[in-house]
Amino acid sequence: MEIRGNKIITEPLVNPEQTYADVNADVCKPLESFPTKKWWVCFLIASGSLLIGSALATDMFRRGLGVLGLNQPVGWGVFITNFVFWIGIGHAGTLISAILFLFRQKWRTAINRSAEAMTIFAVMTAGLFPVIHTGRPWYAFWLFPYPNQRELWVNFRSPLVWDVFAVSTYFTISLLFWYVGLVPDIASVRDRCKNQIRKFIYTVLSLGWRGEARHWNHYEMAYLLLAALSTPLVLSVHSIVSFDFAVSILPGWHTTIFPPYFVAGAIFSGFAMVVTLLVIAREVFNLKNYITLYHMENMNKIMLLTGMLVGYAYLMELFIAWYSGNPYERFIFANRVGGPFAWSYWIMMTCNVIVPQIFWVKKWRRSIPIMFVASLLINIGMWFERFTIIVTSLHRDFLPSSWDYYIPTRYDWGITLGSFGFFFTFFLIFCRILPTIAMFEVKAIMKFGKKEYGELGD
């Protein structure tokens, strides 16, 4: 965007030479051709990682949680870190699809579909961890309040139960929102199908959508309502995840800054993941006309903002620990910055606070290699943020006699690798069978063919 006199000149969101038919042709192309070699390589790596993770998890269930690096003071480790990390990744998708929709940010249309898919797969991945962390996943249904012969109910005052409701609601609503957004696009794919079996599958998935004006009328309203419901939902989910820590009385966890700090961190890490995925997807599937540098630049700006928000939270935590005068609180933060896990703290500080500062420079904000490396570093940094919060607060508790160091084992790392495999396997399959760009939304913001039409132009 630049300002000349009193006129604001915006960059086009879609290459202005594209027609409506081009959108369908370009977006549906990966769905209608045999997967490329690049795709197969990615898919084999992802499903191989998933296989390693599943094998290790199976072995862990047989032997028990003793194979993990968990010990007496450190009862939460890599698995809970992964849970918070993956839930956080999901938040950018809902921010793009719901909050930017309510703010009428038209640039969201090119990226919302893949970001929402990312949300769904990330929440699925996250949901695995609390369940396998119990070591007895076959009792997972105990998390839900249901009438049972023991006549017991869950304790609704526990943040862990709030989490069950928050995460399962988040998954359900994200899935519905995503599917509602997909219906008109699946209908587009259906009408392009030549193969009868493909046509049948897409016909069923499209529910027989034909794009009638009366349907669009209801559709737009329902979409708006789902966006309005998702907006407070996404803020509530990570707030509730932070309550898992903040409601306890452990120094380092028991802080009121946690909910906004976690939400900002979630959006920060989520956008980093969207940038990582889209840099690859726009290259592999040739979508540069739709996911332009302008989109990437906007996401980098959000990363710059949220990166500074989490930076503020890090500093404020230190300040409040000192200002509170509480010796335990002061100790835990001094231990975080300079104790045995200082390496993890400084990885977090470097990746999350210093790295995003490069986005002040417009040239770097618009450079694909720079943003790709930065987004990977931010992902790493945000993983270590959760690791730092969880492990450093636990490993030196009130009794020095029980202090210990935490070393994750190959089971911890292998299952973590498996979670990445799980996520990417789903994402790669999604790219092959469903349109990765919300075609109807992109067409609605295109300027093509709307010259003489007052109401649509802007």
Binding site: P159, W162, P184, S188, W216, N217, H218, P232, L456
Partner: protein
């Protein structure tokens, strides 16, 4: 379902290249000629079309409101009943109905039930899934826009309709039989 609605709709299908032309044609057919049995098809929501066709604002928000509030109440009642009535359990000396602790789950129940209800209502309002209606033209979910004028409308006069349509920038008129 009555016999009439099972019958296949027949009429004229005017296809346009451009959303603006569709709106102008809809205004003429639905407004000036007062034909009510008109349906427009477009690959994306075209603004101004609902006005041109005389469509009212969707009533779905009322369903969301009522069921969202119902979800809120149900969520709260579930927690209060299990904690205070079915098995009153003293947790940390808190009151049995310690309502501030119940707010997160109450809120999530509101969103969950409101959201599911909205989605179901959307598809019910559009009477989807429904597969017996034919796809009139494959380009209508791609790059073209169409107006369908039903032959059974009282004001339908094939020649008049065709004349009016030709005044607009119509690119093709199909006779659906």
């Amino acid at each position: 379902m009555s016999k009439k609605s099972k019958q296949k709709a027949t009429g004229l299908l005017a296809i346009f290249e451009n959303p603006g032309d569709l709106v102008n044609a809809a205004k003429k057919i639905s407004g000036r000629m007062a034909i009510n049995k008109v349906e427009a098809y477009s690959p994306f929501p075209v603004h101004g079309l609902d006005h041109a066709l005389g469509l009212k604002r969707s009533w779905i928000p009322w369903v969301t409101l009522v069921l969202g509030l119902a979800g809120w109440c149900l969520g709260f009642i579930l927690q209060a009943w299990t904690s205070a009535v079915d098995w009153p359990l003293n947790v940390g000396g808190k009151p049995f109905v310690s309502w501030p602790a119940f707010i997160p789950v109450t809120f999530e129940c509101m969103v969950l039930i409101g959201g599911i209800a909205t989605t179901i209502t959307l598809f019910a309002a559009c009477s989807l899934p429904r597969f017996d209606k034919p796809v009139l033209d494959h380009s209508l979910t791609n790059d073209r826009f169409a107006l369908f004028v039903d032959r059974t409308d009282v004001n339908f006069d094939e020649k008049r309709v065709e004349e009016v349509l030709k005044e607009t920038h119509v690119s093709e008129i199909k006779n659906i039989l």
